[in-house]
Symmetry: C3
Subunit: 351 residues, 3 copies
């Protein structure tokens, strides 16, 4: 069960070109492509003629040409050419999906096209700001339900266990820090502030702090499945924890986590890492990207094993712990959106 009337991430904008790409989203087979003139198309990946995936075809000026017998579909899913035949029946029309290119991402609308409102897509200015936030993109396919991955992102205790030998470090730091879970206008934010502490080695390596620092770790969940992460530290006492404008000049990274359900048991993970502390050092941007790449592969191992186990045994008797607060609130928001959609559909059906 997926939320339908919402924007999902279909891909990194730079990956969608004139070579068609097959991608399954919310369990629907979709072909993504960009015409020579730059228009992005997202169609059901199934030719109206004999059902062959259009992603095996060729992008031409007019749209995408099926690789089997040459029918051409434009970006709206309208058939504009049938070889050897003038008359094009209306039944050749196939489903197209609204798409929007924004902040280096292609967003796709899986629900009722009449409700697709691009202004609802979240803003992520970091992706347009290579000067202050030099960044790199990643894309993983994870064999686990998308919510298991969001669970992972909304929980910080796992850092000390899953990433013990990479970015995690000592489990106790992560477990004992004070944590706040705060509803936002659209989602939920998990915040961990560590005032007046000593900066960890990697932070010191990045920025020559004089003494103690105020550290923050903020994870904001935005439905259906995006998490915006901001971690860093600034000289203690500047007020960086309460006033975001006081964070400049310290250590600061932003990680974008965008998760898209592929099937009920797999998901697509689009992420980026932005270096906000040594912007003129490409090696720092690269190192950050590499560290995170490795860490996310460690998460993948856990999530894929968890997926298999839950498929076999269900979730009914699992036990929640205190650190699950952010995760539980995230799930509630998604459940509420699905319920809302079901109610709307019932109302529409009985109208």
């Amino acid at each position: 069960m997926f939320i339908r009337n919402i924007w999902y991430i279909a891909g990194w904008a730079k990956d969608i070109g004139t070579t068609p790409i097959a991608r399954r989203i919310c369990n629907e087979p979709i072909v993504l492509f960009r015409t020579p003139k730059g228009q992005v198309g997202a169609l059901i990946d199934r030719c109206c003629h004999r059902g062959v995936p259009l992603s095996l075809g060729t992008v031409i000026e007019a749209g995408i040409e099926c690789g089997y017998h040459g029918l051409v579909m434009d970006c709206s899913g309208t058939c504009v050419h049938i070889p050897g035949q003038k008359n094009i029946p209306a039944s050749t029309k196939i489903r197209s999906y609204p798409v929007v290119e924004k902040d280096e991402l292609i967003w796709i609308w899986m629900g009722d096209p009449k409700l697709a409102d691009p202004s609802q897509i979240l803003d992520y200015p970091v992706h347009n700001d290579y000067k202050n936030w030099p960044h790199k993109h990643g894309f993983y396919r994870i064999k686990g339900n998308y919510q298991l991955l969001v669970d992972n992102l909304m929980d910080l205790t796992h850092l000390g266990y899953v990433h013990k030998t990479t970015i995690g470090g000592d489990p106790n730091t992560h477990v004992s820090a004070q944590m706040e879970t705060r509803e936002t206008s659209r989602g939920v934010k998990v915040i961990r502030h560590m005032p007046n502490c000593l900066p960890p080695p990697t932070y010191r390596k990045g920025v020559p702090f004089a003494g103690h620092v105020d550290r923050w770790q903020e994870f904001e969940f935005v439905p259906p499945a995006t998490v915006l992460q901001w971690s860093g530290a600034a000289d203690a006492g500047k007020g960086a924890l309460t006033d975001e404008n006081q964070r400049d000049g310290g250590f600061s990274i932003r990680v974008f986590h965008g998760v898209t359900p592929e099937t009920e048991s797999t998901c697509l993970y689009f992420w980026s890492t932005a270096n906000g502390y040594r912007q003129d050092d490409p090696q720092a941007t690269e190192d950050l990207y590499n560290d995170v790449s490795t860490a996310f592969r460690e998460d993948q191992v856990m999530i894929e094993a968890q997926q298999k186990m839950l498929e076999e045994t269900g979730e009914a008797d699992l036990v929640s712990i205190i650190h699950d607060r952010g995760r539980i609130q995230m799930r509630r928001i998604v459940d509420r959106l699905i319920e809302h959609e079901n109610l709307q559909e019932s109302a529409a059906a009985s109208a």
Copy 2:
């Protein structure tokens, strides 16, 4: 749902020897072998004793010896030896299938053995005529329903798209040519005649034509799933298009396409290519074979992707086009044969 009372191709005769071969036909597991004296056996590939596939056994004089405990079955499926035991119970008898070796092929009857009439097997004299039609055999396993492959063979528009860079060439040639679809006594024939045109490069390379030619492409479907192809060209005006006897001396190739359902979603593809224009040049025979081998792999990619998509989404809303005429007629013939068989069975049941 397969036609049962009909001859299917089980294999190339030269491939069936004293090493048993496991092959699934119409979703039944079958072992094929040839005794030292030359008799071909086709038995259900399951020992009556403990169910081990007989294809793991050894062919001996008397038949096939199971590889587990040594029971021996002869070509009629009768158990003729049980190690350590004199008495052979009648319940050891297993199913055998009528087989006929003809024109380099082993044909198998999957239905009621009483109805198996070898005279119904189609003739393909090309396979016995290495002088006028030097030829080579191919065998592919395709992960698609056998009818998707026959669809492919009954349609010529795909040549210009699927085989763009190999044997196909310009799509327009294939799309714009006049086409005729004609019922034959047993099946249907798709014919394309191109009178008085310039011979394409490969034709000219094969035969030193003086000027214009009359070209033909003929595909005859014979149920359940054989397509006999004859393509070529002769000097224009000789009457080659209307009189087959006037085709000698030109460019001419014959391709045999024999498809056997393996399961509902896979099939076995037995094909041969015969060189009818440079019979004394083994390299021409080889080149033709290689070109076709490559092209059929391109078809395979399409068909296997199509199979997956149709398994997921069905065929109900697909749209037929003008070039589907041959395909549709082919399907109608097969449907009629299945319906006929069902009626016979109902009649037999109520008698």
Copy 3:
């Protein structure tokens, strides 16, 4: 359907250390480990928190620490630590399985823990006697129901067919020898005695026999799925066949076959080979082990093909032969035990 209230083999004792091992037994996912102090734990391989397999975690002094968020379970399945939380709810308790280490094996009880009685575990002193029975261990995973493997072990005719080119030799030897099938207190024994015959080459190579020998091959089945094999020969006329104490000094090997159901269609095969004829020659121990390793791979091929075929076609119409006697008796014992368990359960339910 498996017998539950019985001891199964979970693993070789030497393989269970501080690196946790995931192993499926009677279709239940289990994690096996040994604490630094030496206690062996067998728990359901599923963390009570979010369902991640505990086998991805780390063994510590107190038990096993989940690799995802660090919960710790002790060997009894009790949660003894939740990071960031003092209160440990009772619902965190997970299933633990009684285990016993005996004769180099870890035995596990899959049924009602109250009924687990270690005295019911069979004795295999050979595993503790490296002086008289130097031996080596093997472990294969077989893609076949565990009873198909036990079938194989209870039948000696297969030797001459499956192992024709390895340990089997001439089929007739195996088929024509006199065979006795005898019930024992707990199972069934298949015995083959060949008095006053010439020793085969491998026997002669091992022991310089003066002349004729008395040969024995004894296979004792002990439920649920262990077979204890003793094969050998002694100088003829010493009475070795009737009196086990007269077997010393001849050729003698013992093979332990312990089979554990993994799923309905796969099993775990724990076996050992013991050299009882050239105890001071490590190469003889090695050679015996290697010969048997190869032979068991041949059995595996048969059993895995048989499993697939029986999954498709069932067993209903299979025909038993005279040499199936031991196999049939073995199956009857297992069926009786399952029936007995079902009756007990019904009685308990209606009490």
